[in-house]
Symmetry: C2
Subunit: 655 residues, 2 copies
């Protein structure tokens, strides 16, 4: 008889208290700056920024104000994402003032909800009576999904049911409207999100209706004749966009085929990541083998063929989309911050399907590089697009690079990224561990104190480290009594050599499974063990089919990808090459930003002054000179003066 593995799950956010030399500052930034700033933005109180209209829309819909709808058709979701972040913040730290603001906004939301459960200010204000007529373009279920996520987070934090009841009423209404039964709309949203939210609502309520509805939405996607065409026909072809791109291009929203048949990342990268998150989360609860296969197939494609070394996804601006296998342009890249956040969601759900360090490796890569690069060090400005190579003049003077900004922007017309960063960082504790039976898997190395029940007993596990700058992580077990359980520690893909010490003594790593070293023993209070991950500078190469990185090298140390910036290395970074055998030094710089480790070495720079004025010249020799180079962590770029940046650098002497 085959042994059925126990289900995998994350730990409640409340039980993980982060106390980390690297991350605590970020989380505090979200608490002190990002969330308050966003509250001001949602209330249209940021000078110089385009008004959000989000709160105002709810006030008008609730009958508290006069006026007309403003903002994008999915503007409600900005408020929901903010509220979700607040829910996470309140789960880890009491904040009466913030809770009061949230309670008031929840009252407002509840007032804006229709009697039948419907909730969407755009349709309430702008097109009453037309709800559920343009799912393809209008994000009604997307907004509902975000509201459900917010409700679950806020309920988990406070135990207050009001917003949860709003969400339940909304989900029940959706369940009455959508489904395969006659009289119901046999359709789905143009922007996936509701699917993953319904699984969360199921987890909180135990009501399997939501699980089935999630499955319905996922399985209906891509059916023929196509839902987008059918609803467009009913609308006599009217659209809510400047053209019918979204309706015609089914692959843009991954609605070109059934999810069971899709075999590669395609279309809008955020939609793709949210869909996969929903699929994996659902499959983790249902055990649907076909769905699990689809998740693995799509995962394999995106991480093995369409992901930047920074964990960014989406190779083109057009449709904010994937392009094709191994097409990873560094300068015309999209790599939206939200898409990497979606990839982290997807990875976290895959970790609930099976313990495999690969998922956590990708999670770590996206988190420490693209997501952190997405936010400035003061938490006040954000990148939407995360390039791996920037030439500021090109961003201005060549329209091909126009979507790439060399400086972070304070707020966006379509403001999806900042609140997404906020809700991810404020819930970071959920990403550190997964539990399966009496095994605790450590996925991320983040200083924290965690309460978990293992083998029927309460255990407290303390993690301490100077990660990501150092690979030495110390764990301390606190428990009332001796207890048999297994601690499984991820051995990161970037690490070639790891050591383990138990209570000061080096121990052999006896069992390494799926990228985790397993420590199975009877643990006593005060047991300490150390994981020592060798963290030299690594020269990374790209797959030979990635044409943009041919002959190039990127530096990585631990989880951090590094880059050259003009501030350290002068302009014309393309003139620099790094000899294949150049020794590289690691150096702490406490004065740069909040202290970070830079990599220094000697490179070659093409000499420009000998050239003359001609554009092309005959000749076999290119004159170069030796120059000192400084590489900084990618996440830290664009925090000084505007300038060039480059991750992939020509390697001299290798090709």
């Amino acid at each position: 008889m085959e042994k059925v593995a126990a289900p995998l799950h994350t730990l409640p956010l409340k039980s993980v208290q982060i106390n980390d030399s690297y991350w605590s500052r970020y989380i505090q930034l979200v608490r002190d700056v990002v969330v308050p700033y966003q509250w001001e933005a949602l209330n249209d109180r940021i000078e110089g920024a385009e008004p959000s209209h989000a709160i105002k829309n709810f006030k008008i819909a609730a009958g508290e104000e006069e006026g007309t709808f403003g903002g994008m058709v999915f503007q409600d979701s900005d408020l929901a994402k903010w509220l979700e972040a607040v829910g996470y913040l309140l789960q880890t730290e009491k904040d009466e003032k913030l809770e009061k603001i949230a309670d008031e906004v929840i009252d407002l939301i509840a007032k804006a909800q229709h009697k039948n459960g419907y909730l969407n200010t755009y349709y309430t204000l702008k097109e009453p009576g037309k709800q559920w007529t343009d799912l393809c373009e209008c994000h009604e279920l997307y907004c509902a999904g975000h509201m459900i996520e917010a409700a679950v987070a806020y309920f988990d934090a406070t135990g207050k049911r009001k917003i949860l009841d709003v969400a339940i009423k909304l989900a029940d209404h959706i369940n009455e409207v959508f489904g395969g039964e006659p009289g119901k709309i046999s359709g789905y949203d143009g922007h996936q999100e509701i699917e993953l939210a319904l699984v969360k609502l199921y987890e909180t309520t135990g009501n399997k209706t939501y699980l089935r509805l999630s499955q319905f939405f996922l399985e209906e996607r891509g059916s023929q004749p196509h839902f987008y065409d059918k609803e467009a026909e009913k609308r006599d072809g009217t659209t809510h966009w400047q053209n019918s791109f979204m309706i015609e291009n089914k692959a843009y929203s991954q609605a070109h085929a059934h999810v069971y048949e899709q075999d590669r990342a395609i279309g809008h990268s955020v939609r793709f990541a949210y869909m996969c998150t929903g699929m994996a989360h659902l499959a983790a609860r249902t055990g649907d083998e076909e769905m699990i296969k689809s998740c693995k197939r799509l995962w394999r494609n995106v991480v093995s063929r369409q992901m930047y070394i920074t964990g960014g996804i989406g190779s083109q601006r057009h449709g904010e989309a994937f392009s094709f296998d191994y097409d990873l342009p560094n300068d015309t890249v999209y790599a939206e911050t939200c898409a990497s956040i979606g990839l982290i969601f997807f990875a976290q759900r895959m970790l609930q399907l099976e313990p495999n360090s690969e998922y956590a490796d990708v999670m770590e890569r996206a988190l420490y590089n693209t997501v952190l690069a997405g936010m400035s060090q003061d938490g006040k400005s954000f990148f939407y697009v995360n390039p791996l190579e920037v030439h500021p003049q090109a961003c201005e003077a060549n329209e091909n690079y126009n979507h790439v900004k060399p400086v972070r922007q304070s707020w966006f017309g379509c403001a999806c990224c900042p609140p997404n960063v906020a809700r991810l960082l404020s819930s970071l504790g959920q990403y550190i561990y997964t539990v399966q039976g009496d095994t605790l898997y450590t996925n991320l190395y983040i200083g924290s104190k965690t309460d978990v029940e293992l083998n029927g007993n309460n255990v407290t596990l303390i993690q301490e480290s100077n990660y990501p700058w150092s690979g030495e992580i110390k764990f301390t077990v606190e428990a009332d009594q001796e207890n048999d359980f297994t601690l499984a520690l991820r051995l990161p893909d970037w690490c070639a050599h790891a050591d383990l010490r138990l209570n000061g003594k080096k121990v052999l790593m006896e069992e390494i499974t799926n990228g985790y070293v397993h420590l199975k023993r009877t643990w006593s209070a005060g047991d300490q063990f150390q994981l020592i991950l060798a963290m030299p500078v690594e020269r990374m190469k790209s797959h030979p089919l990635v044409r943009q990185n041919a002959g190039k090298v990127a530096l990585q140390r631990g989880p951090l990808v590094y880059c050259l910036e003009e501030a350290d290395n002068g302009p014309q970074l393309h003139q620099i090459s790094l000899p294949a055998n150049a020794p590289l030094q690691v150096q702490e710089d406490e004065n740069f930003l909040n202290g970070l480790v830079v990599i220094t070495g000697e490179g070659e720079r093409q000499k420009a002054e000998d050239w003359g004025t001609g554009l092309y010249q005959r000749g076999t020799h290119t004159a170069t000179e030796t120059v000192p180079l400084t590489f900084i962590p990618y996440f830290a770029w664009a925090n000084r003066k505007i300038g060039e940046m480059k991750v992939w650098v020509d390697e001299k002497g290798n090709r």
Copy 2:
């Protein structure tokens, strides 16, 4: 007293009879295929192609047919460019059938002309009464300019005045409507062309009014308050385009500043080249020193900072435009065929300002590479965009490369390039020589027999060669009597070593001025001399500020730039590097196309099979294998099966 140089001028096309192993085939192709094909296209008789409407528009305007205007606002110019090409063909070879067709079409054009001289089928049919109200967007003067060019060419060919009289009447009407005097429109066209045409009309008629009108249009450009805004205000802001881009972006049509103040190539590349052509042509006739300075300044910028090695110009699709100095992306390039033709026009006019081989070098570069690449070897399909690097899958699956086509197209909705190629090739004889006093400058090496008056006597000069495959060019002088004159031969920029033989004996090159070797002597009938240009394979490098070509090399032999094509070298061309010291062989391939010289050698190719499945890997070594490489002339690419192509190749061992 300063010596005033004699004026420089080209030779009449009639006096230059091309008989060349390389070019005669192309010119015959224009005669036999391109011009007849275009005639069918203008008459909407090409199956599967969008109708041109050009002839039909004229028939309706002439009252011969019923119907409405079709095609672009500048559709008339397609017919004019065709007629101009016909004029050139008839100048070099009698063709009664073609002349009859042209005479009929001229009758049609004359019937479509208004009594007051106005001629434009768009405004005649679609917006009667609204003529001259949207110069910025509607190309009325542009179309007039092309009609004038056609008229001059056809008159020169046949001596028939009908179309010349149409052109004079049109130009006189324009002179009544436009100018600085009160009551006239103080404006200019959004697409430069009339300026250069009016100088041609002056040369044919001797009427200085046209010279002054050309000068007015050029000098008025960029005046403030801005003409585009003023006429838009008069139209109450209505536009003829989907947006007001052309009106707002003054630099798009080089109307952002006075021509005397402009210092770099900017905006739409064809407009820029036509403007500069007009400026230089006008300055050659007026001697305006300020205008000459402006021409030289703009020439310097475009050829030293914004020109591809293929002679292509225009670095971005957006606005079919220049971007900024040293920004020359090979794969997202524009490099429109018409823009390189415009650059050749500009160069030819600069050669009428001063004898300087640099102008001819650029003319040759653009002609032998971009222009010839623009047309398929059968003369039936054309490139609009001329990339220096192509990955066919990217053209389909990544919208950034969508404007780049890996195969030539049969006709274009905006069909400017094919007729432009036709009129250039059919008038190629005009580009070979310039004359100044008793000096004959040879700018291009093209087999031909030329009659020219030098020092008061008739001379016939015969050029024979196997250029561009061989650098040996033989000249024979035929004359009735002994005669003192100077033959000046261009020493091309690509040539490091040249020899000269006079009647079989090697002679020293005593006088080399501005890139021409001068042979001043008393010439006798039957005198022969040979120019022997060493033509090894050259490794070309780009200026250190061109970031796209850092570490890369391009091969050039004689005037021809070479490229790697998938058909010879397999896919994944980015995996190939060329060692800095690799010996390169030259090899004739008589079976490929119409016979050409290929370059072969050994390169290194990154081994893909050892890699595995991961997208990124740690490691210092990249495994390569030695592979044979074949480079073909750039102009010959995309004449076999669809595949990758690459001009700039990574150079191994140099950086």
